[in-house]
């Protein structure tokens, strides 16, 4: 029986393609995307998945590597996923795999507590589950041409402010709580606070970046006159910045995911954040550390503002989040939905 030659060549071609594909897939991969890269990561016995908000990425890459050098961290590789805080939190609640979570604001961890993925006592310790933070700052163009010094400068006619959307970003909430606290004197005159935020959002904000990092990107690409951001973002991206006399203390929580299959390694990793070694790395990554010893070492880098409002001054996250940022009824959410949608 004479085989049709073109049919044979069809089989040959298909066979060759399948073979080459199989050979290619035999090469091992890994999470590292560094050229010439560290193959060590793919030899790890355990891989911890860290789901974090966007801003601390520079810090986590350093700290994760340092962890791998410690006793507890031997054989543990850390893969990081970074994105807008609330979006990431919702993703984990809907099933995105995670062993350790680090969000911008406490409500994003509370969501996971309610979903049964984080233990209720995650912040019961002395450290309250917060290994690092920052302050809200005003990042400006080189030379500060519009002479932005304080919150009321933002409301000058023609000033365009860049800040992310509070529906997806945690950084956005901090960014808006800072002027709110200043205008309302720590929440005492809520109407004045809301009035300020309304004018800010309606007249001076036109963009809706999804995360703190996206806001920085958009500002760097040329949009806006002033960026509301973490002090760490300004430092990490070489932006000229002004710390207003009254600003807000940013505290970013970290927690172990209770449904993780690597409880021990995850807990070790979280505990590592509070060691002086890790705290120093966080300070070097431009985040304000919580360890008093390390704080003393970096006191010049992180000057104390005249008045630093905290979430406790406003009554705690549970109250603030439901009053101001609730998806349907939050006062600030409503302003946002009306203005930029």
């Amino acid at each position: 029986m004479q085989r049709n030659p073109t049919k044979a060549s069809w089989w040959r071609a298909t066979g060759a393609l399948v073979m080459s594909a199989t050979v290619l897939t035999a090469c091992a991969g890994g999470p590292s995307d560094v050229v010439g890269g560290e193959r060590g990561a793919s030899d790890a016995e355990t891989t911890l998945t860290l789901v974090a908000f966007a801003v601390p990425e520079p810090g986590w890459s350093k700290v994760a590597r340092a962890f791998e050098g410690t006793e507890e961290g031997k054989g543990v590789a850390v893969t990081g996923s970074y994105g807008a805080s609330a979006d990431q939190s919702r993703a984990v609640a809907s099933g995105k795999p995670a062993d350790v979570v680090n969000f911008s604001v406490e409500p994003d961890i509370t969501r996971l507590v309610k979903a049964g993925e984080v233990n209720e006592d995650w912040n019961a310790g002395a450290t309250k589950g917060v290994p690092f933070g920052s302050v809200v700052t005003l990042a400006v163009r080189p030379g500060n041409p519009k002479n932005i010094r304080d919150w009321n400068d933002l409301l000058r006619p023609g000033i365009e402010v860049v800040t992310p959307s509070p529906l997806s970003s945690g950084a956005a909430k901090w960014n808006l709580l800072a002027p709110y606290s200043w205008a309302s004197n720590g929440g005492q005159d809520a109407a004045a606070g809301i009035g300020f935020v309304t004018e800010l959002v309606s007249d001076h904000i036109t963009l809706r970046p999804g995360s703190g990092r996206e806001a920085t990107d958009v500002f760097k690409q040329g949009s806006g006159d002033v960026l509301l951001a973490y002090e760490s973002e300004a430092l990490n991206f070489d932006l000229e910045y002004v710390n207003p006399p009254q600003t807000f203390k940013i505290e970013n929580p970290v927690a172990v995911v209770s449904t993780s299959r690597h409880q021990e390694e995850a807990t070790d990793f979280v505990n590592f954040q509070f060691t002086p070694e890790a705290q120093k790395l966080w300070a070097e990554a431009n985040f304000r550390p919580v360890d008093p010893g390390v704080q003393a070492d970096f006191v010049d880098k992180f000057p104390a503002p005249k008045r630093l409002w905290t979430i406790e001054d406003l009554g705690g996250w549970e109250q603030v989040d439901s009053q101001l940022f609730d998806k349907d009824n939050g006062s600030i959410t409503k302003i946002y939905k009306q203005a930029t949608g």
Binding site: T6, L24, A41
Partner: protein
């Protein structure tokens, strides 16, 4: 209608100029940016561990999507070409649907169906099978967008072929699988290959739908296209260009394959009985 030489030249250069500016110049720019630091950096950039994982994942998805599409697509094409039945036009319309659906809507639809809060949320919540944020989600997204290809390439071939040879085989006593394997399949092989090539290209290139349903963890659940976006967002522009060049090469290979297959398809069908 004959145009004056001047008009002909003007029109020709308008057309060529449009194509050049719109397609050739930007694509050439990417190629130049990728290759000007040297071919070594190109290869280094596409062989990082994350890139290899992405390649593995993309190829694995292709390895599942293609056989499924062939397994279900060929019988569907047979049924459309050979039979009349009630609801045939609805089936035809359903097959064309993926062309009209935005990739983001594909992702949203899958999340609304298989997500933990979705219509079939019980699959994840009670059976523990993660579809969204898991591998099946990526596969389902890619199958959705590639459903029409094999069916639409095989159906017209079957239509043109007619059933003479199959009927002859039947009268000679061939069982249905013998007829299928020896007669039908060989005669549709070029159309089938064309459909498979399109399916592979589309699967490797799918972005919007996969972005929504995948966990996007480097080294684990990131396809090639997701890695391109990740690299760009991180500011690793060269890496993004390098990977894009790789994907562009695949696209060019697909176009070449299409040209070859077009030539094969337009040749009159060879008598399969001659084997």
């Amino acid at each position: 209608m004959t145009l004056s030489p001047l008009t002909r030249h003007i029109v020709r250069w308008i057309a060529i100029g449009y194509i050049a500016v719109l397609v050739v110049v930007p694509v050439g720019l990417i190629l130049w940016r990728t290759l000007s630091p040297g071919i070594g950096s190109f290869f280094a950039s596409i062989s990082t561990p994350a890139a290899i994982s992405a390649l593995n994942l993309s190829l694995l998805v292709v390895a599942i999507v293609v056989p499924l599409n062939v397994l279900f697509g060929v019988p569907t094409a047979l049924v459309l070409a050979r039979n009349r039945f009630r609801g045939k036009s609805i089936l035809q319309a359903a097959i064309d649907l993926p062309f009209a659906v935005s990739p983001v809507i594909v992702g949203a639809a899958l999340i609304l169906l298989w997500g933990s809060a979705g219509l079939f949320g019980f699959v994840e919540n009670h059976l523990g099978l993660k579809i969204i944020f898991g591998f099946p989600g990526i596969v389902l997204a890619c199958i959705f967008v590639t459903v029409p290809f094999v069916i639409r390439e095989v159906e017209p071939v079957l239509h043109e072929l007619g059933t003479d040879q199959e009927e002859a085989a039947a009268t000679l006593g061939a069982q249905w699988w013998q007829t299928f394997w020896r007669i039908t399949l060989p005669s549709i092989r070029w159309g089938l290959t064309y459909g498979i090539v399109l399916t592979v290209a589309r699967t490797l290139g799918e972005f919007g739908a996969v972005l929504m349903v995948a966990a996007n963890l480097p080294g684990e659940s990131q396809t090639l296209t997701l890695l391109v976006a990740d690299r760009y967002n991180r500011g690793a522009e060269y890496g993004a260009y390098a990977l894009s060049t790789l994907l562009m090469t695949v696209a060019v290979l697909v176009l070449i394959a299409q040209v070859i297959l077009d030539a094969r398809r337009s040749r009159p069908a060879e008598p399969a009985l001659g084997e």
